[in-house]
Amino acid sequence: MRSVSESADLFRHVSADKSEFYRRIMDVFAAAKRQYRLQLRPDEVLAEAEWSGAPPRIEEVNVALTQLTVWGNLESHPDTARVSSLSDFYRARFLYRLSQGGEAVEAALTLFVQTLQRRAELQTVALEDIANRLRALQTLAGEREPDVAKVHETLRDLVRVFEGLAENAQAFMAGVARSIELQQAESSAVSTYKRQLIDYLERFIGDLVRRSDTIAGHILALDPRIDVLLQQVAAREARDAAPGNETDRVEAQTSHWNAWRERWKGLHGWFFRSGHEPSQAELLRARARSAIPQLLGAIAALNERRSGRSDRSADFRILANWFVACQNDGEAHRLARAAFALNPARHFALNMDADADLPASTRWADAPPLKIHPRLREYGEATPRGPMARIRDRAEARARLARELAEEFLQVEAARRRLATGHSIRLSDLGELDGHAFGLFLGLLGEALTEQTHPEAAVSRQTGDGLLHIDLTPLAAETRAEISTPHGIFSGRDHLITITPTQDLR
């Protein structure tokens, strides 16, 4: 067997200078292999290959064939057929066929192309098939003497369907993540694809939900008996393997059995969660569900991209060409205005008193000119330059205000101390009050009297600012109190008044 580095030669024709040429030749051999023809002559190759242009000369084909033989893709044998001319006889003549390595390379390349071209898809049929096979398996397992051949066939089928599903699911997940197909797609293709994909995902998710349970049920039911079945199948397979002694047979049987158990475990893991990992089916469902918003996102991006009737990117590229073709900047500006229309409006400014009564036939030269501020006319500045106005220092005024405030506070405090004694006193005994004290007294009286429902009722309330508590009890109707103040004499029915600072009540 060739080592990896040796087999690398087999791939050289793909990356060689004339790879196109080599590939066409190899295609002929691959086709011949499909038609069970074992070997080809150079002239046959020349005739059968699909050359892109004019067919090459036979000498070129010969050189290429020799090169491919050197790389190991082809094997050559001397051609022993009869010839009818001298030149043919003297020329080295060979028959060519695919070598084993060449065959492998062809198969690999085919697979490679298929894989690249495969569209991500989800199979709904597969789920149905899996469910059917499992049901069949269950029936078989239920029989007293299971038919091993049938079991084997069913299991093989199951594995095949399942592998297809898993492969497709993988491709789908990867495809959705990349959303390559949408990136370069045409808009019509996208809208078709969108409809198909959404229909498809809907169907698949529905199916997955519906069938997962059934499948899981089947698997659960089979679980206790499956080991026996797998063992029998493994034994049957081992019989097919090349003959050998007893130990070889047991070994082969074990390895087959292990392979089957692994497959079963995989199937199990698809539909049941193992540990904390969600099952593959759940993952797939989540991914399929997330494919729809991703698809919508991709479509939105496409729509934005072509939110004109044309492909904007192409528009801009063409426009770039047009700009390059402009003779000068002036032409470029004209083109830019037509293409972008981003220019702001442009108007003359400043005409305080438009001469509305001027006849429209007046020439500009005869109309009174614009009135321009003399400063603007003379200096080019509308506002005078010069030092900023000095900031006035208001500290003194502020200090005076503070002093006045402090003094007033003291007077109010004095008045409060004078009145808010906490002792009952008749109004007639209050005597003379100064301005501040009288102001406070009137305020308190006002608050208290608004509370009074009836001239005879006693009042007790807290003042609005919450600092004082006032009790007011009217005395006999004929009593009379007089309080002299700087503003005059206050008089009225006499009351018994108690003013208490709120803090003293507590």
Binding site: R305, L335, N343, F348, W364, L370
Partner: protein, 431 residues
């Protein structure tokens, strides 16, 4: 409260609401005229969204401009009526940078929802290597700092428009070094990107044999719209063309219009400008030579005139100088056709050299250096050209009629308020 008061109150509220609606509509119209491709980050985007239906109807009726408003942004397809203006491209762009912008957009169209500056550069290189581009002499390699700066400039444009949004990173670092860290990551705003191209028909939709070959063909391929083949359809198309120019351009001179458009314009300019001004809070300036919609706020423009700063001041002085020549009595006398007057660039440079002596001390330092008047003259002429106040021809610079509005008027002397009050008090009013 009486019922009479009730109704008055509610009608006031109704009036207030209508007024508010009208003002919001105007704000939105003006914002879209300035930012035709608007992202939700724009200050006025909420107004645009609220007024969406009215705006869509108005722009389509008046100018035939499609307006798309979605949650992700707004796009007013301001297709130009007039294709010869060479001053209305992207600011600071040249031919090469436009090519890079297109290639960057082509790459972004194909990219994922996020991209880095480095990756964008690589994709751009692939696109820049296309044979059509290279055969026309275009080469871009990203090898030098200069080329990286070009890429970054394009990126900054895309950031500004809102096609890209920076997630992390720094473009300047990319310009300076080629290390792994010198990179930036962006989100691609696909909606905004999709709105970037305003072409009526995508350039790639032409079959190779029908594809437009010359610049003129390409321009019309980008903007030509279907016009209904009827008198009504042609009139509407004509009206839209004029409205587009009035809304977008500083001034329309009657002499630039062809016979059909001129007839329509002369008949309809009053009604038309009134409608446009009502919606955009502009003021119409009707003159014999044409019509300008002017803006009181100085905000509805990318090139303000007059404005502050040395360049603007020089422009204003040049405008006055040119206008003065138009207004000279002999110009008028000689002037069955005053447009004949032309100035050479040297005259303007000489004028600015003199002006520098008088005003130079107010100018920025670089403008005061010897020879700087040449550059200033260039800037001034370019600004005047952008505003359609002059035309640069083979013979020299020709002032256009509207420049006269920037001519120096008679000084107007007003009584100071105190003096006036005093004179009224004494009963000697300015009778």
């Amino acid at each position: 409260m009486s019922s009479a008061e009730d109704t008055r109150g509610s009608s006031n509220i109704g009036q207030e609401q209508r007024k508010h609606q009208r003002e919001e509509f105007r704000t939105a119209v003006r914002a879209l005229l300035m930012t035709p491709l608007m992202t939700p980050a724009h200050d006025e985007f909420p107004s645009v969204r609220r007024q969406a239906d009215v705006l869509r109807a108005w722009f389509s009726r008046e100018a035939g401009w499609p307006l798309h408003i979605e949650q992700e942004g707004a796009r007013l397809y301001k297709r130009p009526a007039e294709l010869s203006a060479t001053t209305r491209g992207l600011p600071d762009y040249d031919r090469r940078r436009y090519v890079l912008l297109c290639l960057a957009c082509a790459a972004l169209e194909r990219s994922e929802s996020q991209i880095t500056l480095r990756l964008l550069g690589e994709r751009l290189l692939q696109l820049a290597a296309e044979p059509v581009l290279t055969s026309l002499g275009f080469a871009f390699t990203l090898g030098t700092q200069h080329e990286r700066r070009e890429l970054v400039a394009v990126c900054r444009t895309l950031l500004e428009i809102g096609v890209l949004q920076r997630v992390v990173g720094d473009e300047e670092a990319f310009v300076q070094t080629r290390g792994e860290q010198a990179d930036a990551l962006y989100d691609v705003q696909r909606r905004t990107l999709a709105g970037l191209l305003a072409a009526v028909r995508g350039p790639s939709t032409w079959r190779p044999e029908d594809a437009p070959e010359t610049l003129e063909e390409r321009l019309s391929a980008l903007v030509d719209e279907h016009v209904a083949d009827s008198d009504e359809g042609r009139r509407t198309a004509l009206r839209h063309q004029l409205a587009r120019r009035l809304l977008d351009d500083p001034v329309i001179y009657v002499e630039t219009l062809d016979a059909e458009a001129r007839a329509y314009f002369v008949n309809q300019r009053g009604a038309m400008s009134a409608r446009l001004c009502e919606a955009s809070a502009l003021t119409a300036e009707h003159r014999a030579e044409g019509l300008a919609l002017v803006d009181e706020t100085c905000l509805l423009t990318d090139v303000a005139m007059p404005a502050e700063g040395t360049d603007a001041h020089a422009t204003l002085l040049v405008a006055e100088y040119l206008a003065g020549a138009l207004k000279r009595p002999d110009a008028l006398d000689a002037g069955a056709n005053p447009h004949r007057i032309e100035f050479s660039e040297h005259e303007i440079i000489a004028f600015l050299r003199d002006a520098k002596i008088r005003y130079g001390r107010y100018w920025r330092k670089s403008a005061r250096e010897a020879g700087a008047e040449r550059e200033l003259a260039d800037i001034a002429i370019e600004r005047l050209e952008k505003l359609q106040l002059v035309v640069r021809g083979s013979e020299g610079i020709r002032p256009l009629p509207a420049i006269a509005r920037f001519g120096l008027g008679e000084a107007e002397i007003r009584d100071p308020p105190d003096a006036r009050r005093a004179s009224i008090a004494e009963g000697i009013g300015p009778a």
